[in-house]
Amino acid sequence: MNTLEIQGLRLRLPRTARPVLDGVDLTVAARETVALVGESGSGKTLTSRTVLSLLPPGAVTEGTVRVAGDDVLTMTPDQLRRLRSGTAAMVFQDPRASINPLRRVGDFLTEGLRLGAGVAKAEATARAAEMLASVGLTSAALRQYPGQLSGGMLQRVMIAAALMGDPALILADEPTTALDVTTQAEVVALLGDLRERFGTGLLFVTHDLGLAAAISDRVYVMYAGRIAETGPAEALFARPRHPYTAALLASTPRLDAARGRLAAIDGQPPDLHEELTGCPFAPRCRHATDVCRETAPQQLPVPGEPAHLVSCHHSDQLEDRHQFEGSTADE
């Protein structure tokens, strides 16, 4: 059984012309790191929030979102509370914005257990100290206030908080974006260790393709609320089959690339207030033909790579192009 299984998720918001999420299929197995990559407005954050049923007002959903076998979208408020405090936990982008600055770290960590599960204070504190140790902090942090900790240390505290309920799934929404590059490495290393140790599944939401390639087993690339391409990280970055993935890779400024112009993607992602026909990427795509503008592509496996799925009418055309992306994947 997969830790997280999203099937045919469609999400509509009031006053929009098209679904914000349109048929998202996504799975995360135990001990697996899955990256969900996309630009702002692609629906990646909304997808991760839907897993905890943290929906914007007026949202209408279709499809199923199963966490450890139970459908989140049909849960009662009581079941949801248990899900959020136990089975699935979230680590947010800005640790400083998601912690009460006036309460000690210890109170913050033990609150859920004491109020939610009715665990005694001493026991909850012992567990908090244990979790802090597992993220590389000492129990001295229990008595400190958030303002006394650096951004990287605070994000460790947030991860410790996520571990308090012994979750089967951790949702990390851009957990390193607000951190410095060298601190990012620490947090990523830590998340990897914890996944091994506790056997949790990790859904890592990010806009950073390089980071996704570096840390994940599998990658989903989202565009305009749909999964454009998914597959094992190595294959997807070495041989992208969706023009959007390829274009994103080409437009990322890289250390080893020659100086000069980047291959930018012209135009902008489609607006939520405009109806979409055909492939959402067609207006910005160099390979687009009439069929792209008329019918939305089906998600199909790449020949010879059953785990590599792509939603593109012309994915075969990309086969031998974009070899320059291959250089990054060569270890």
Binding site: D180, T183, R259, A264, Q268
Partner: protein, 279 residues
């Protein structure tokens, strides 16, 4: 693209006379030395990157150069004129604005929400070039940054992040500065938009010969758009030199750490974390 020969100190023998010279800049907040003995120079029409993490003093340095902060000691010379002191009087203020302009990180906050695109461009024109035909210049600026004329009457909230950053760049160019300071100017943008803006900046430099001072934490951006680079840590410059040399053969362990920290396949975060603790 010009590729200056490797030199230890930035810009000293770079082609062209230096348009911006910073010498011995210091700035302390209480006991924290935000900027500690920072010196570099930027040749006319060249592009210099300042790289560092938060707390490295790169943003404070930039703010001192544009006059938003004062230095405790040290000098900022632009086009040979001393621009260190506080701006006194209208003429000095305007002269400094023509020397150096700045593009800020967050395009959602750096534009007045009530002011339309055309007005935002007309304001600096009216201030610096009174009595000229501004309509033509506004249209020219919009073209230069790749914004359609029909967006001229839009308010910032009706524009995307990339479009707003184009407006901010056009507004800075309106003054026709000698140096443009870009403070994390593409950090808040999506990758595909970021590439558009970086290309745009490259085009503008070719057309106008403006010098860039690129403040960024992203080494990929540095590799892409700068000739020379200065690496800062805790207020001090730890390494400086031509970008290609610094990225290919970093001398300082901190520069090496920064380079290793950039995620890529086969990346070893444990090793980086260990190196960082050791440093």
């Amino acid at each position: 693209m010009s590729d200056p020969k490797a030199h230890e100190r930035t810009g000293r023998d770079a082609p062209g006379r230096p348009v911006l010279e910073v010498t011995g800049l210091h700035r302390a907040y209480g006991t924290v030395r935000a900027v500690d003995d920072v010196s570099f120079s930027l040749a006319a029409g060249a592009s210099l990157g300042i790289v560092g993490e938060s707390g490295s003093g790169k943003t404070t340095t930039a703010r001192i150069i544009v006059g938003l902060e004062r230095a405790d000691s040290g000098r900022v010379r632009i086009n040979g004129r001393d621009r260190t002191g506080h701006r006194r009087g209208r003429n000095e203020r305007l002269a400094r604005a023509k020397d150096v302009q700045m593009v800020f990180q967050d395009p959602f906050l750096s534009l007045d929400p009530r002011i339309s695109v055309a007005t935002a461009l007309r304001e600096p024109l009216a201030l610096h070039f009174p009595g000229r035909d501004h309509a033509a210049r506004v249209a020219e600026l919009l073209d230069q940054v790749g914004l359609g004329r029909r967006l001229a009457e839009s308010l910032p909230r009706q524009l995307s992040g990339g479009q707003r950053q184009r407006v901010a760049i056009a507004r800075a160019l309106a003054v026709e500065p000698a140096v443009l300071v870009l403070d994390e100017a593409v950090a808040a943008l999506d990758v595909s938009v970021q590439a558009q803006i970086l290309n745009l900046l490259a085009d503008i430099r070719e057309q106008t010969g403006v010098g860039y001072l690129f403040i960024t934490h992203d080494l990929g951006v540095v590799a892409c758009v700068t000739d020379e680079v200065v690496v800062m840590r805790e207020g001090r410059i730890v390494e400086a030199g031509p970008t290609t040399r610094v990225l290919a053969a970093p001398q300082h362990p901190y520069t090496r750490l920064l380079l290793e920290s950039v995620p890529r396949p086969g990346w070893n975060p444990h090793h980086i974390a260990a190196t960082r603790r050791a440093l």
